[in-house]
């Protein structure tokens, strides 16, 4: 009997507490993202601090999931148009057109105007990347470009200066040649200057970098034609194939992450991979490395990258107050994104990149020197369907199983089929 009294008192207290918070009208925002690594821990801390500052008014609830399943879950949640779908999300900038074209993202022009932000506050290309058909749907948080990691020890052994990395096509080739050798004298190359892998991030980041450096593009100006079989594109792929198969400065038949293992073992001079590898390489004992912007290998400098953007999802009951709360949250995170940089990314805002806190991050600050040369994947609602055939062509060509020109012709055809099908239904 006594127990029962206790339980009911407890229940009443809980009831009072919960109704109390309802009366205060605390706004709860669901914030979804795919930051599963150390970046997620960092973001979690920032969310916690924000919640503390806004106690009783705004409560942001963060949910983290793998990027791979994140988009599937977002799509599922949004398709039901239910209350359980997220309010705020992080989205790679190349996915924004896909979601914006379906009308599930909120127009953020007003938020940006209220915050008083303009193009000048952000690195060039990333600011424009969040705009689709004249409206802004993404507010950039960071930029994550392809990066050149060098092994300092191998540089010194080869008589190169690790403080002055290759920046031109000739310097890059020369360094690659000098560090490719047979170290144990068994007649087989076991240390390589660089690596162009046929799998991730080769087709997705390295070849797009080369494509843009050689002056090519994926789509024509008005987005009606897939042009991955252009002369420039063929030249870029031939450059990579030549480096792998004729010059031999890269291992052949690299498997998924095989080149990462080689770099960790100290058998790779210049490793091209995303900026997100920094913390992993730092944990590798005895790996004496430094990070630099990707050098120019073609006619002009361009570095393929992507960017995490804040987006607001359209929901059945979006209220003005919720929208304002979300805007407040985005501003808070953006202003404090130098903390975020310690977890591996380059902040999108110029003012944050200029802070002492960011400049003291040796690797990130070094990569950020060329942040204005970062280029993004084509802005198109079905970009991934158009690009998949290109990735396969790159895969086959770098493996040496198909000629670059023929493979790219196939890719352009298949990409065009997907694009035509899409254009017909518009």
């Amino acid at each position: 009997m006594r127990k029962r009294v206790k339980v009911s008192v407890f229940l009443v207290v809980i009831l009072l507490l919960t109704t109390g918070s309802v009366l205060a009208e605390e706004i709860t925002l669901d914030f979804w993202n795919g930051f599963t690594g150390p970046d997620g821990t960092g973001m979690g801390k920032m969310v916690e601090e924000f919640n503390k500052e806004n106690e009783g008014e705004i409560e942001v609830e963060m949910q983290v999931m793998q990027w791979g399943t994140y988009y599937q879950k977002v799509v599922t949640a949004l398709s039901t148009r239910s209350d359980s779908s997220p309010d705020i999300g992080i989205m790679h900038v190349d996915r924004v057109p896909e979601f914006a074209s379906k009308g599930v993202l909120l127009d953020l022009d007003q938020v940006v105007a209220d915050l008083g932000w303009s193009k000048d506050d952000f690195s060039n290309s990333v600011w424009d990347a969040g705009i689709y058909e004249g409206n802004r749907y993404g507010i950039p948080l960071d930029v994550h470009p392809l990066t050149m990691y060098i092994n300092k020890d191998l540089f010194e052994e080869a008589g190169l200066d690790p403080e002055d990395p290759p920046k031109t096509p000739a310097e890059f080739m020369d360094a690659a040649a000098k560090m490719t050798k047979d170290t144990d004298g068994d007649g087989e190359i076991d240390q390589w200057g660089t690596a162009f892998p046929p799998l991730w991030p080769g087709p997705e980041f390295i070849l797009p970098t080369l494509l843009r450096q050689f002056g090519g593009s994926f789509l024509n100006e008005d987005g009606t034609e897939v042009v991955v079989d252009s002369e420039e594109s063929i030249a870029a792929l031939e450059y990579a194939v030549d480096l792998v198969h004729n010059k031999g400065y890269s291992p052949t038949d690299i498997q998924q992450d095989g080149e990462v293992t080689l770099f960790r073992q100290g058998r790779l001079g210049m490793h091209l991979n995303g900026i997100w590898m920094i913390s992993g390489f730092k944990d590798q004992e005895g790996l004496n490395f430094m990070s630099y912007p990707v050098p120019r290998m073609g006619q002009e400098l361009a570095i393929a990258g992507n960017s995490h953007n804040f987006v607001f999802f359209r929901k059945a009951g979006n209220s003005e107050a919720e929208f304002e709360a979300a805007a407040k949250f985005v501003k808070y995170i953006s202003n404090n994104s130098d903390k975020w940089a310690t977890f591996g990314q380059i902040p999108a805002r110029n003012s944050v990149r200029d802070t002492q806190a960011f400049k003291s991050l040796e690797h990130q600050a070094s990569i950020a020197q060329e942040v204005d040369s970062v280029v993004f994947p084509p802005k198109h609602p079905i970009a991934s369907s158009i690009l998949t055939p290109y990735y396969e062509a790159v895969n086959l060509a770098i493996l040496g199983q198909e000629e670059p020109a023929a493979a790219l012709k196939d890719a352009a055809e298949a990409g065009q089929m997907a694009l035509d099908e899409y254009l017909q239904t518009q």
């Binding site: 988009y71 498997q255 998924q256 095989g258 998949t388 086959l396 493996l399 089929m417 997907a418």
Partner: protein, 296 residues
Amino acid sequence: MFKKYLRKLTPYLFITPHLIFFTAFLAFPAFYGIYISLHKWEPLSFNKPFIGLANYQKLFTSGTLQNRYFWNALVNTLQFVIFSVPALVLIGLLLAILVDSKIKYKGLFRSIFYTPVILSVTSVTLIWMWMLDSQTGLINYFFNQLGLESVAWLSRETPAWISLVVTTVWWTAGHNMLLFLAGLQDIPQHLYEAAKIDGASIFEQFWYITLPSLKPTTLFVTVMTTVASFNVFGQPFMMTQGGPGRSTQVAIMYIQQEAFTNYKMGSAAAMAIVVSLFIIIIGIFQFKIMSSDVKY
């Protein structure tokens, strides 16, 4: 009167729990899949118009992307089934006979052979990817020690298939072993005793007693392994990513791509239905050949 009624009801009550789950997780999704396959179904679009058999037509009209990639993926899946099913059944049977015989540490061997089955596909593929790595893998290291050339295990078509089948066998043969072991232990010992008295050799015993007695088990194992092999996804998805090119892309991988990269749920559902028709036809075929005199 009431008792009689209740007695009639009892068997239905027993199957109710299963029936609920079967309906919710198998029957309903299957029919819903057929429904989706008749629509232009994009998850984020409000309109999901009925388009009849257009999704199926695309599969059977040459010149469409779906036609080009789906049949390639289905042929790849069939190849995998043909390579992997005999290996999985035979090796499962051999392991079962081994751990059923009078060897020392029987329990230890049974556990060792079964352990891979409980691993997740991610762990299994990661282990094998490290061992199979072109430049730094253990297997190529042994090859080099023996004076053999390194093999690009996952980036040439033939070695890639071998790698996928070997990985699958290592991972799942233990499951078949367990089923065969149960079958072996069901065979009455007196049959063997009688055969011995008649002077039958070990091989004659195996051929005339063990194999026929195992027929129901073998049928079950073969059909289940075939279905499982048709549904292969994790190994090629992780290890080869369907490469080189699309030469190891299997049906489920392409269906997943169509559904979650291209967001064409209707088209993906149509493909899934076609694949399951194939599985059903092959299953019926296997039953016809093998079950002529099987009694349950």
